[in-house]
C-alpha cells in the first residue's frame, strides 16, 4: 500500500483498468496530449495511444452520446467532463437515451462519465457546481461521490464494471489535498454501501464527498463539548445505503444531512424525507439539513465561503441538534 492523493488514486485506478481490459477507453476534451485539465490522464496517451485516449472536439453531447454507442458495441468508455458543470451539455443524452435504454429496449449502456465537481477555490458559478442531485432523480443512472483515495479507486473500478451509466463525481477540492493509503491491487468497492467515517453516539451526520472532511473537523471540535458524532459517508448516492443511515439514526436519534450542493431539492431532501418517513419513531429531533443556500456558486472568496458549508456551520448544527 502506498500513500496517494485522491487524484493519483483515480488516475492509477483508471490506468489499471485500461491495462487489464482493452475495452476500456477514455474520451474527453484535452485528455490526450494534455493529460486532462487536472492531469488525471497524464501519460495515458503515450501508453495507450490516441485511439484509447481520445482528444475529442468541444462537444459534450457527442462525447457522452458516442460513449453510449460504443458501449452498446461492447466497449467500456470512460468520458471525462472538463468540469462537472459542463455535463449540463450532455444532460439530454444522459436522461433521454442512456438512462432509459435498458428499461425501454433491453439494451444496457455501461458508460462512466467522470465529473470533476465542487468548489472552494474561487472557480465561480461554472467551475464549482455539484450536480449530483439532478442526476440522482433520473431513474436508470447511478451516481457516485467518493470521499477518500481508496474509495476513489475502488468506486471507479466498480463504475467501469457496472452495466449501467454511472456519473462519477470526483471532488476537485480533494484532488491534491487528501492523501491516504491505497491498495496497489485491483479491488472493486461496492455501490450502495456507506462507510462509517467516524463512529459516534449522539448525532449522525450523513454526507459525502468533500463534506466528509468538513463534518470530521466539526466533529473534532464538538467532541470536547461532549458531543459524539457519527459520520456516515454515503459513497454512492444512487444507490444509497438507507440501511446504514437508518441504523445510525436508530442509534443516535438525531441526524444532520450535509451537502455542498444547493438546498431546495438537493439530495439531502431525499435522505431527510426517507429518515422522517422510516425512522419517525426513532427521531428525537427534526432532521436538519446543512447545505449551500439556493443560489449559483459565487466567485469572490468571502461570498464563496459563505456559500459552501463551513466547519463552523456544522459545529453550530451539531450543537443545535445535540441540544434539542
Amino acid at each position: 500500500m502506498a500513500e496517494k492523493t485522491y487524484l493519483q488514486a483515480i488516475s492509477d485506478g483508471l490506468r489499471q483498468e485500461m491495462r487489464r481490459d482493452k475495452r476500456v477507453y477514455v474520451i474527453g476534451e484535452d485528455v490526450g496530449v494534455y493529460g486532462g485539465a487536472f492531469k488525471v490522464t497524464h501519460g495515458f496517451q503515450e501508453e495507450f495511444g490516441p485511439w484509447r485516449v481520445i482528444d475529442a472536439p468541444l462537444s459534450e453531447t457527442a462525447i457522452v452520446g458516442s460513449c453510449t454507442g460504443a458501449a452498446i458495441m461492447g466497449m467500456r468508455p470512460v468520458a471525462e467532463m472538463q468540469f462537472a458543470d459542463f455535463v449540463s451539455c450532455a444532460w439530454d443524452h444522459l436522461v433521454t437515451v442512456a438512462a432509459k435504454q435498458r428499461y425501454r429496449a433491453g439494451t444496457a449502456v455501461p458508460i462512466v462519465v467522470r465529473c470533476p465537481s465542487g468548489g472552494g477555490f474561487s472557480g465561480g458559478p461554472f467551475h464549482s457546481q455539484n450536480p449530483e442531485s439532478s442526476f440522482a432523480h433520473i431513474p436508470g443512472l447511478k451516481v457516485v461521490c467518493p470521499a477518500t483515495p481508496e474509495d476513489a479507486k475502488g468506486l471507479l473500478v466498480t463504475a467501469i464494471e457496472d452495466p449501467n451509466p454511472v456519473l462519477y463525481f470526483e471532488h476537485k477540492h480533494l484532488y491534491r489535498r487528501i492523501k491516504a493509503d491505497v491498495p496497489e491491487d485491483r479491488y472493486a468497492t461496492p455501490f450502495g454501501e456507506a462507510r462509517i467515517h467516524r463512529e459516534g453516539d449522539d448525532v449522525t451526520v450523513v454526507t459525502w464527498g468533500a463534506m466528509v472532511y468538513t463534518a470530521a473537523e466539526a466533529a473534532d471540535k464538538v467532541e470536547s463539548e461532549g458531543i459524539s458524532t457519527e459520520i456516515v459517508d454515503l459513497r454512492t448516492i444512487v444507490p444509497w445505503d438507507r440501511k446504514a443511515v437508518l441504523a445510525s439514526v436508530e442509534k443516535t436519534s438525531k441526524v444532520i444531512v450535509l451537502h455542498e450542493d444547493t438546498h431546495t431539492g438537493g439530495f439531502g431532501a431525499e435522505i431527510a424525507a426517507t429518515i422522517a418517513e422510516e425512522a419517525f419513531e426513532h427521531l428525537d429531533a427534526p432532521v436538519k439539513r446543512i447545505t449551500a443556500p439556493d443560489s449559483p456558486v459565487p466567485f469572490s472568496p468571502p461570498l464563496e465561503k459563505a456559500f459552501i458549508p463551513q466547519v463552523e456551520d456544522v459545529v453550530a448544527g451539531l450543537q443545535e441538534v445535540a441540544g434539542y
Binding site: 457527442a62 458516442s66 454507442g69 460504443a70 452498446i72 466497449m75 443524452h93 433491453g106 444496457a108 455501461p110
Partner: protein, 348 residues
C-alpha cells in the same frame, strides 16, 4: 446553390447487377417494400379499431428510402433507424408479429410494453432502439462507428435523421465528431419535406441538407428517396467507402411524407398538388414498374409475393393479438441493467 452531389436515377438491370444485386435480391426488395407498407397499413387499421394505444406514425412514402439503405448494409453493420424507417427493421429481420405486439403494447413486443410505436429495435439484429428526442441517436451511431474504429473492425454504423431534426445540435456534434475522426458512419437524412407542419424552408436555408456534409469535410449526396435502387446504390457506395476507411457520407433521400405527421394529423398544411405530384412517384409502384420493364417481373411472381406477404401479416396480427398485456409485476424490471444484460453478442 447546391453543394452536394445530386445522384442520377438508376437505369438498367445491367447497372443494378454491377452494384451487386441479383434477381433474387431484387424480388427480396419488393417483398420488403410490400411488407413494410403492409405493416403500417395494418397498424393504421388496428389503431382505428382501438387496438393500439397512444398515437400512431407511419413512413408512407419513405419505404424505398428505408429498404434501399438497409439492403445496402452488411450483416455486421449497425443502425439507428427512426419513426419513418420501418423498412429497416423488416430488412434486418424483425418478425412482423413482434412489431404488431409492440404497437399494441403487448408483452411480446421488442420493448415488452415499456415503449410504443416504432420506438423499438432488436439489438441482436444490429439495430438500436430510437428515442423520441430527435436526432438523439446520431451521436450513438457515431459511437458505434468509434468502437469499430478503435477495434479496427470493418464495420459501418448507419444513423438516420429527418430534415427537421437536422436543425438540432445533436446532428452537428455527431457529424463533426465523425468527420474529425473519419469514422465509418453513414448519415441518412429522410427528407420528407415536412417536420410535423413545418416546411423545409423554415428548417434550413441551404438548398439541400446534404450541402452540410462538405462543410464538415465529407461527401454529401442527394438521391430520389422514392427510387429504391438509386438509394441502395448511393447507400452502398457510402457504406463501402466508410468500411474502407474513407470516412462518413451524408445521403439525403428526398421524398414526401404521404400522410399526416401521425394519425391525428390530416396534413391540411401540405398543398394538395404536392400530394398529387408525389402520389405519381409512389415508391412501390415505381419499383414494380421498373421490375416489369427491366427484370421481366411476371404476374405470377407478383401474385406469389403479395400472397406471401398477406399471409405473413395476417398470421402476425393474429399471433400478436394472442400476446398478453405485460404483467404489472414487470413494471420495475430493467430500470437498471444487470451483468447478464452484457451477455449479448454485441456487448462483447
Amino acid at each position: 446553390m447546391a453543394i452536394a452531389r445530386e445522384a442520377e436515377p438508376v437505369g438498367s438491370l445491367t447497372e443494378v447487377k454491377e452494384f451487386g444485386l441479383d434477381r433474387e435480391d431484387l424480388l427480396g426488395i419488393y417483398r420488403h417494400l410490400l411488407t413494410t407498407r403492409g405493416i403500417e397499413e395494418r397498424g393504421h387499421i388496428l389503431y382505428k379499431q382501438g387496438k393500439i394505444p397512444g398515437s400512431f406514425y407511419t413512413g408512407r412514402g419513405n419505404e424505398a428510402a428505408a429498404v434501399g439503405v438497409a439492403t445496402a448494409m452488411g450483416p455486421d453493420d449497425v443502425g439507428t433507424p427512426l419513426h419513418r424507417d420501418m423498412g429497416v427493421h423488416i430488412v434486418r429481420g424483425v418478425e412482423p408479429w413482434r412489431i404488431f405486439a409492440q404497437y399494441m403494447g403487448r408483452a411480446d413486443g421488442p420493448t415488452k410494453g415499456k415503449d410504443g410505436n416504432v420506438h423499438m429495435a432488436d439489438d441482436r439484429l444490429g439495430l438500436i432502439a430510437m428515442v423520441s428526442h430527435l436526432p438523439a441517436m446520431l451521436p450513438v451511431a457515431v459511437g458505434c462507428a468509434l468502437a469499430f474504429r478503435i477495434r479496427e473492425e470493418k464495420r459501418v454504423a448507419v444513423g438516420w435523421f429527418g430534415e427537421g431534426a437536422s436543425a438540432r445540435g445533436d446532428t452537428h456534434e455527431a457529424m463533426n465528431m465523425a468527420a474529425v475522426r473519419r469514422l465509418p458512419v453513414v448519415f441518412v437524412c429522410d427528407n420528407n419535406q415536412w417536420a410535423y407542419s413545418t416546411p423545409t424552408h423554415l428548417e434550413y436555408a441551404c438548398e439541400h441538407v446534404a450541402d452540410r456534409a462538405k462543410a464538415y469535410g465529407f461527401e454529401g449526396v442527394v438521391v430520389d428517396g422514392t427510387d429504391v435502387l438509386a438509394v441502395h446504390r448511393e447507400a452502398k457506395r457510402a457504406i463501402e467507402k466508410a468500411r474502407e476507411g474513407g470516412g462518413p457520407t451524408l445521403v439525403e433521400c428526398l421524398t414526401l411524407r404521404m400522410e399526416g405527421h401521425a394519425v391525428h394529423d390530416d396534413a391540411f398544411y401540405v398543398p394538395k398538388e404536392m400530394f398529387e405530384e408525389w402520389a405519381k412517384r409512389d415508391p412501390l409502384e415505381s419499383y414494380r414498374s421498373w421490375l416489369r420493364e427491366n427484370a421481366d417481373f411476371t404476374d405470377e411472381e407478383e401474385d406469389e409475393i403479395r400472397a406471401e406477404v398477406k399471409k405473413l401479416l395476417n398470421d402476425a396480427i393474429k399471433r400478436a393479438d394472442e400476446s398478453p398485456l405485460p404483467e404489472v409485476s414487470t413494471l420495475l424490471d430493467g430500470v437498471f441493467a444487470t451483468p447478464e444484460d452484457l451477455d449479448t453478442p454485441h456487448h462483447k
